[in-house]
């Protein structure tokens, strides 16, 4: 009962249990942070709009993205993954989500930014449905904790529309 083996075993079990408990409360503490992120996206220009080699519609945009995600960072945050997706509906597909741009934000200081770029990933439809299409631009963020549950949310900005003809 008092051999080295038993004592080592008891100590290890206790240590692991405490560690698991600490991870759980660290994760739980994230629920109490007050999060007030904000963002704005402007489409500055439609660079071109045509059919790509496989026959699907493709459009290239220049976007102006302003965001302040600093309030998402807590002491238990490892990084925030933010991305902008174009979301729209077509006659065949009830939901289409195409990621146009993303960034890994490693620290709170980098979480307030203004960026002007053309879309990082190609905006390609499955078909020819993009002419005159109304779509939303949604800024999503996924917070990766140092330990525990990941949390994700988004801001939906609507009112964007693609031109009626290729150009």
């Amino acid at each position: 009962m008092h051999s080295f083996g038993y004592r080592a075993n008891a100590l290890l079990t206790f240590a692991l249990t405490i560690l698991a408990f600490m991870c759980a409360i660290a994760s739980f503490s994230d629920n109490f942070s007050n999060q007030t992120p904000s963002a704005q996206i402007q489409i500055l220009n439609i660079n071109w709009f045509q059919e790509e080699p496989h026959g699907n519609d493709e459009v290239s945009l220049t976007l102006n993205i302003t965001a302040d995600l600093q309030s998402l960072f807590t002491w238990n945050t490892k990084q925030v993954f933010a991305f902008v997706a174009a979301e729209y509906k077509t006659s065949k597909n009830s939901l289409n989500q195409v990621s146009l741009w993303d960034a890994i934000i490693p620290e709170k200081e980098h979480a307030k930014f203004w960026i002007q770029i053309s879309n990082k990933y190609p905006f390609i439809d499955k078909g020819h449905n993009l002419r005159g299409k109304d779509f939303n631009l949604t800024l999503h963020w996924h917070v990766m904790p140092k330990t525990g549950k990941m949390l994700a949310d988004k801001i939906v900005m609507s009112g964007y529309r693609l031109p009626d003809a290729y150009r």
Binding site: G5, C23, S27, K78, F81, F83, A85, S91, K92, N93, S94, L95, N96, Q97, V98, S99, D102, I104, Y121, K126, H140, H142, M144, P145, K146, T147, G148, K149, M150, A152, K154
Partner: protein, 170 residues
């Protein structure tokens, strides 16, 4: 003569009983591990309840839960034996059937995962996807990674466990 015979018999029966007890205890430990694994499979509804590539835990299988952009999913590619854990960047969900075309990409990679998919495969479908990541436990995965890369450690561990069980009954 009779006395010695009796003594031998009694010693043999004790040894046999001890041996049987130890064998059963060992068997119990192995089967409890199996039970926990299968129970996890049931609870999570997934074939691989614990994936260690990124030390991330998985959520109940989402036969009912739609797949959305931004989620981190675990998927299998035909011809590869290790599942991949990457983020969804494109989703095209069909109206009536709920079938979905999904494209994934590792956050830090420059290219999307089409290079990793099977030849001619452009999209992932529901049946490729085994689960979704919901949380993060740092360093826990190293145990399994070490055991996979140096299998001798696996055997040493099991041997040591076995020895402990046998010793404790003495």
């Amino acid at each position: 003569m009779g006395l010695i015979g009796e003594k031998i018999d009694s010693i043999k029966s004790i040894q046999i009983r001890q041996l049987l007890t130890q064998a059963i205890s060992l068997g119990m430990i192995v089967t409890s591990a199996l039970i926990i694994w299968k129970a996890l499979m049931c609870v999570t509804g997934s074939e691989s309840p614990v994936v260690v590539v990124l030390s991330e835990s998985m959520e109940p299988g989402f036969k009912r839960d739609p797949i959305r952009a931004g989620e981190i999913v675990v998927f299998n590619i035909v011809g590869r034996d290790i599942p991949i854990v990457h983020r969804v960047i494109k989703v095209h969900e069909r109206e009536n059937t709920g079938e979905v075309d999904v494209l994934t990409k590792g956050d830090k990679n420059l290219d999307d995962d089409r290079l990793l998919y099977a030849k001619g495969q452009l999209w992932l479908h529901r049946h490729h996807i085994m689960g979704r990541a919901v949380g993060f436990l740092p360093y826990v995965g190293w145990v399994t990674i070490i055991m996979t890369e140096k299998p001798i450690i696996k055997y040493i561990l099991i041997g040591a466990l076995g020895l402990l069980v046998i010793k404790s009954k003495d």
